[in-house]
C-alpha cells in the first residue's frame, strides 16, 4: 500500500508542489462548513488506441487527462466541483464552489492522521502503454488481421483495435481515510465482415482486463479472437428469421450474463433503492429468483475488467451476495447511500473520472454455478431459443423492464440445436425473470473482458458472467410468428 501511495503522490501531488500543508488548507477550506463528509479525488490517466482496417494500422491516438474532483456532502446534498489543473489556487476555487451547498461553521475536524485504506493487490501497478513497443502493438493488430483472413475466404473486411489506459488515483477523505490505486486496463477487439452471394454479415470478439499487452501475446489472443469473430460472422450468413413471441430461452455461459446486469444489477443499486424508484425497492428478504439462483457482485477478482483494488471512495472491494438461493439479500452501496439507508458500504462507489460524482455501480456481476449438465439443459427444451452471444442491453429501473439483444442465437427443436437465427432483442421483467430460471448449469464462465456500463452519462468498465441457464418464458423479439 505505501508503495502505491508513494507512486500516486509522486505522479499527482509532487509535480504541482502540493504537500501536507496545502492539503490541510484545502480540507480546512471545506470543513469550516457544516458538512457530513468531503473528499478530494486526484486522478491522472493516459490512454492510447491503435486501429487497423484494410490490413493497415492507419491511425492511433494518445490522450492525457488529469484533475481533481472536490465533493462536499451534507445530508442528502452533494456539492461538486472539479478542476483539470492540479494547482493549489484552482483546487481552492473548486473547494469553495463545492462547499457552497452547506452553511458556515461546525463541520468535522480536519484530519490530523491519515489512515491508508487497506487495498487488495488484484493487478500490477504497471503502465500498459509501456508494456510493448509501438511497433509490436502494430504487429499484434496485423496478426489479428492475418488470422481472420486465413480463416475464411469470405472475410471481406477486418477491423481491429488495441487500446490501453493507465489510471493513477489518490483519494483523501475528511474522515482521514487515504487511498491510492494504479489501474491498468487493456483491450483488444476485432470485427469482421463476411460476404457470400451478396449477403453480408458481421462478427465481433474481443477481450481484456487489468493487465499488460503482453498477456494478449501469451494467451494467443490475436488468433483466438480473430477465429471467434469469423466463426460468428459465418454462422450468421446462414441465419434465418428469429422467432417472435414468448418461449423457453437457454442462455449460454459467460457474456449472456448481461441478463443479470440489466435485469437485477441496476435495480439493486443503492441510489434507486434509497429513493424508492427501483422495482426492487423494499424487497430485501423476499424471493426474487428461483432457489437455483445465487447472484453476486465481486470487485475483488484478480485482473478482471470490472475489478478494483479499492473503489473510488476508498472502500475496499468485496464479494457481495445480492441474491442467495433466490432470496434478495443486499443492495450495491456507495458511501452516501449506505449512510442514508443505514447499511454498510459494499465497495461499489465508482466514478468515470475526477470530473464525475461517484454513485453505486456494479463491478463483476455473475451467477454461481448450478448442478445441471449444460447439454441436458438444451435437451430438456422442446421448442425454444439458444442464445450464446449478445450486443448491449438496457433497463427501465422503475418498471423493471429490461432488454438485451442477441448477436448469435439458434432455434432449439426437440431438444436439439437446429438452425441459426438473426439478431433479436429479448425483453423481460427484472423482478420476476429469475423466478422462471428452472435450470442452472455447472459451467460458470465470466466474459472475456469487454463490458462497459453507462449510467447517468458515466461510462465504466464492468464484467458479467453466468453458467448456462434455462429461462422458462422470455419474450423474443424476432420477425417470424410461429
Amino acid at each position: 500500500m505505501s508503495a502505491l501511495l508513494n507512486q500516486a503522490r509522486r505522479a499527482l501531488l509532487e509535480p504541482a508542489g502540493i504537500g501536507d500543508t496545502e492539503i490541510e488548507r484545502l480540507m480546512g477550506a471545506l470543513l469550516g462548513y457544516r458538512l457530513d463528509y468531503a473528499d478530494l479525488y486526484f486522478q491522472y490517466s493516459r490512454h492510447e488506441s491503435w486501429t487497423l482496417e484494410e490490413g493497415q494500422v492507419k491511425t492511433g491516438s494518445h490522450n492525457i487527462e488529469q484533475g481533481v474532483g472536490v465533493r462536499a456532502v451534507s445530508g442528502e446534498k452533494t456539492g461538486f466541483a472539479y478542476s483539470d489543473e492540479i494547482m493549489f489556487p484552482a483546487l481552492i476555487e473548486a473547494a469553495t464552489a463545492a462547499r457552497a451547498i452547506a452553511h458556515r461553521g461546525g463541520g468535522p475536524a480536519v484530519p490530523v492522521i491519515w489512515h491508508p485504506s487497506p487495498v487488495h493487490e488484484l493487478y500490477q501497478p504497471l503502465d500498459p502503454l509501456e508494456s510493448l513497443e509501438d511497433g509490436d502493438k502494430v504487429r499484434l493488430l496485423e496478426q489479428v488481421e492475418a488470422e481472420a483472413r486465413r480463416q475464411d475466404g469470405r472475410v471481406k473486411q477486418v477491423m481491429a483495435s488495441l487500446s490501453g489506459v493507465q489510471e493513477i488515483v489518490l483519494l483523501m477523505r475528511s474522515d482521514g481515510v487515504l487511498a491510492a490505486d494504479v489501474r491498468p486496463l487493456v483491450r483488444l477487439n476485432v470485427t469482421v465482415i463476411v460476404e457470400q452471394g451478396g449477403r453480408r454479415e458481421q462478427g465481433s470478439h474481443g477481450g481484456g482486463g487489468r493487465f499488460s499487452y503482453h498477456d494478449f501475446i501469451s494467451m494467443g489472443a490475436a488468433e483466438t479472437y480473430a477465429r471467434e469473430a469469423v466463426r460468428q460472422a459465418v454462422v450468421n450468413l446462414d441465419a434465418g428469421p428469429a422467432p417472435a413471441g414468448t418461449m423457453k430461452v437457454v442462455l449460454g455461459p459467460g457474456w449472456p450474463g448481461i441478463l443479470l446486469h440489466e435485469a437485477i444489477g441496476h435495480g439493486l443499486e443503492g441510489d434507486f433503492n434509497r429513493k424508492g424508484t427501483s422495482a426492487f425497492s423494499g424487497r430485501i428478504g423476499e424471493r426474487v429468483a428461483s432457489a437455483e439462483c445465487t447472484v453476486v457482485d465481486d470487485g475483488s477478482l484478480p485482473g478482471r475488467r470490472g475489478s478494483l483494488s479499492v473503489d473510488d471512495e476508498g472502500t475496499p472491494t468485496q464479494q457481495t451476495v445480492l441474491i442467495e438461493k433466490g432470496i434478495l439479500r443486499c443492495y450495491l452501496q456507495d458511501l452516501l447511500n449506505a449512510r442514508l439507508m443505514g447499511m454498510a458500504p459494499t465497495g461499489n462507489g465508482r466514478r468515470e473520472s475526477y470530473a464525475h460524482i461517484p454513485m453505486p455501480r456494479m463491478t463483476n456481476t455473475f451467477m454461481l454455478a448450478g448442478r445441471h449438465d449444460p447439454r441436458e439443459i438444451i435437451e430438456s427444451v422442446d421448442k425454444g431459443l439458444y442464445a450464446v452471444n449478445f450486443g448491449g442491453g438496457q433497463v427501465d429501473i422503475t418498471s423493471g423492464k429490461f432488454v438485451f439483444s442477441t448477436s448469435e442465437a439458434y432455434l432449439i427443436e426437440n431438444g436439439r440445436i437446429t438452425r441459426p437465427v438473426r439478431g433479436a432483442t429479448l425483453i423481460g421483467n427484472g423482478p420476476d425473470v429469475l423466478t422462471r430460471v428452472t435450470r442452472v448449469g455447472s459451467d460458470i464462465q465470466l466474459d472475456s473482458g469487454v463490458g462497459t456500463c453507462g449510467k447517468e452519462g458515466q461510462s465504466i468498465p464492468v464484467g458479467v458472467g453466468q453458467p448456462t441457464l434455462l429461462v422458462d418464458g422470455l419474450t423474443v423479439g424476432g420477425t417470424h410468428e410461429s
Partner: protein, 448 residues
C-alpha cells in the same frame, strides 16, 4: 460561484494563439501538415429532488487535440493540460504514433477549396450564468409543478437545470482558423407515478441555445407528470403484425439509423445496409430529407465542420431517392467523392414535416401501436435488421385504448423506410435530427 469567470469571447484570441502555437510546434517536429482544435467550457447543473437540493455541480473543462501528418502517415493526441510543456509532449505523442502508422493515400487535411471562407454568426451563444440559487429556484418550481399535477405522482427522481457555455477553435496548416462560441441550457424533470398497478417513471425536458426560449418550468414539470401517469396499468400485448407510429421524440432514432448507414466510414468498410443505394429508392416516395446547418439558434447548427469545411444546405433524400452520403474528407477520398462537410456528423437533419398532428396520425393509423419509448440496441447496421424493446399505447378505432409495455418491435430498416406512411408536423426540435411522429405500415410486435 462567487468569482466571475472570463466570458468566452474574451479568450477566443488566446485559444487561437494556442492552436497556432500547436501547429507551429508540429511543423518544428517535422510534420508536413497538421490540424488542431482547442476548447474550453464551463457550466452549472443543479438537481432538486422532493423539494430538496440533491446536487450542485460546477463544470469547467478544457482540452486540446492535434492530428499531424508525415506525408500520408498520421497520428493524433490530446490533453487537458494546456501548459506549454504538456502541449509539446502531446505533439510528440502524436508524432510518435504517426511514425508507426502505415502510409494511407486518402489521409490528410480537407482540400483547401472546401474550407469555409467566411464564418457566419449563427446566434448560438447566449450566456446566462444563473448562479446556484436561481438554478435551484427554477428546478424546484419545475419539480413542484410535476408533483402537484396528480396525487399519484408519489415519487421523483428530481428536476435539473443546467447551463453550459463553451468555445471551440479549429485550425490547420492550410491557413484555416475558426472559432465558435455556443451555449446550451436545459431543464428536465423525471417523476414516478404509482397506483395499485405499480410504478412508472417518465420524464420531459427542454434544451435550447437561449435560456429565454426554454419551455416554462411549469410546462416541463406538468408534461413529465402526464407522461408518467399515462403509463400506469400498462399491459402486455400478444404477438402480432401491426402498424407502428413512432412519437416524434423516439422517431428521430429511425433517422439516426439512416445517418449511420450513409456515413462514409460504414460505406467504405461495406458495413452498411444502404451500400450501393445511391440514386435508388430507399424511402417511401414522399420522403424528403435535408440538412440545414445554418439555422439560427438551432442545436445542430455549425458554420464549418470538424475539418474546417464549409457546411451547406443540401438534400440527402428527395422523392424517396438517396441523393447523398454523410462524408468527411477521408471517407470521401476512399469513395472517390468529395466531402459533404459532415466531419463530426450531420447538422439539423430534417425530414420534411407533413400536415398531421399526432392525434391525426393516431386516427389515420386506426389500429396499431403508438411507441413512446424504445430501449436497447438491437439494430444491425450491416443487415438493417431491427429489433428493440418498446413501450407505448395500443390504438383501436383511431383512439388510444390503453398503455402497453414489455413488448418488442422488429423489422428490417430498409423495409421500414420504404413503408413509411406519413410524418407529422409535431416536429421535435430538441436535437440534431428534426422529425415529427412517423407512421410505419407494418412491423412484427412480439409479446405474450
Amino acid at each position: 460561484m462567487t468569482e466571475e469567470s472570463k466570458p468566452v469571447a474574451a479568450i477566443a484570441g488566446t485559444l487561437e494563439a494556442l492552436v497556432g502555437e500547436v501547429l507551429a510546434e508540429a511543423r518544428r517536429q517535422g510534420a508536413t501538415a497538421a490540424e488542431a482544435s482547442a476548447s474550453v467550457s464551463q457550466g452549472l447543473a443543479v438537481t432538486v429532488r422532493l423539494g430538496v437540493v440533491e446536487t450542485v455541480e460546477h463544470t469547467r473543462d478544457k482540452g486540446l487535440g492535434i492530428t499531424l501528418y508525415f506525408g500520408k502517415q498520421s497520428g493524433s493526441a490530446s490533453t487537458s493540460d494546456l501548459r506549454i510543456e504538456a502541449v509539446r509532449d502531446t505533439v510528440r505523442a502524436a508524432a510518435s504514433i504517426a511514425r508507426h502508422t502505415a502510409a494511407d493515400d486518402c489521409s490528410g487535411l480537407a482540400d483547401p477549396e472546401s474550407l469555409a471562407h467566411s464564418i457566419p454568426d449563427l446566434d448560438l451563444h447566449h450566456p446566462w450564468n444563473p448562479g446556484a440559487d436561481e438554478a435551484i429556484e427554477v428546478a424546484t418550481a419545475c419539480e413542484q409543478a410535476a408533483r402537484a399535477a396528480d396525487p399519484r405522482i408519489r415519487n421523483s427522481e428530481g428536476a435539473s437545470l443546467s447551463s453550459h457555455e463553451g468555445l471551440e477553435v479549429y485550425g490547420n496548416t492550410n491557413g484555416f482558423m475558426g472559432a465558435v462560441a455556443s451555449t446550451r441550457h436545459g431543464l428536465s424533470c423525471a417523476v414516478v407515478a404509482q397506483d395499485d398497478s405499480g410504478m412508472q417513471r417518465d420524464y420531459w425536458y427542454s434544451v435550447t441555445r437561449d435560456a429565454s426560449d426554454l419551455e416554462s418550468r411549469e410546462s416541463v414539470g406538468r408534461r413529465a407528470a402526464e407522461r408518467a401517469l399515462r403509463r400506469l396499468s400498462a399491459r402486455k400485448l400478444s404477438t402480432r403484425q401491426t402498424p407502428v407510429l413512432y412519437e416524434a421524440p423516439v422517431a428521430s432514432s429511425l433517422l439516426s439509423h439512416f445517418v449511420g448507414a450513409v456515413r462514409g466510414a460504414n460505406l467504405y468498410r461495406e458495413a452498411s445496409f444502404l451500400l450501393g443505394q445511391l440514386g435508388k429508392t430507399v424511402f417511401a416516395p414522399w420522403v424528403r430529407l435535408y440538412e440545414r446547418p445554418h439555422l439560427r439558434k438551432a442545436l445542430g447548427s455549425a458554420p464549418f465542420d470538424n475539418e474546417g469545411v464549409a457546411t451547406r444546405d443540401r438534400d440527402l433524400v428527395r422523392d424517396g431517392s438517396l441523393l447523398g452520403y454523410v462524408l468527411d474528407s477521408y471517407s470521401a477520398r476512399k469513395l472517390h467523392m468529395t466531402t459533404t462537410g459532415n466531419a463530426g456528423g450531420v447538422h439539423n437533419l430534417t425530414i420534411q414535416p407533413g400536415t398531421d398532428d399526432l392525434p391525426d396520425l393516431i386516427a389515420r393509423m386506426h389500429t396499431g401501436l403508438l411507441v413512446t419509448e424504445l430501449i436497447g440496441f438491437g439494430v444491425n447496421s450491416v443487415t438493417g435488421d431491427y429489433s428493440r424493446g418498446a413501450a407505448g399505447f395500443w390504438v383501436e378505432g383511431g383512439q388510444i385504448q390503453y398503455p402497453v409495455e414489455e413488448i418488442t418491435i422488429a423489422g428490417n430498416l430498409l423495409d421500414m423506410f420504404r413503408h413509411m406512411v406519413a410524418v407529422g408536423r409535431d416536429v421535435d426540435l430538441r436535437g440534431n435530427i428534426r422529425t415529427g411522429s412517423i407512421l410505419i405500415e407494418n412491423m412484427t410486435l412480439a409479446g405474450s
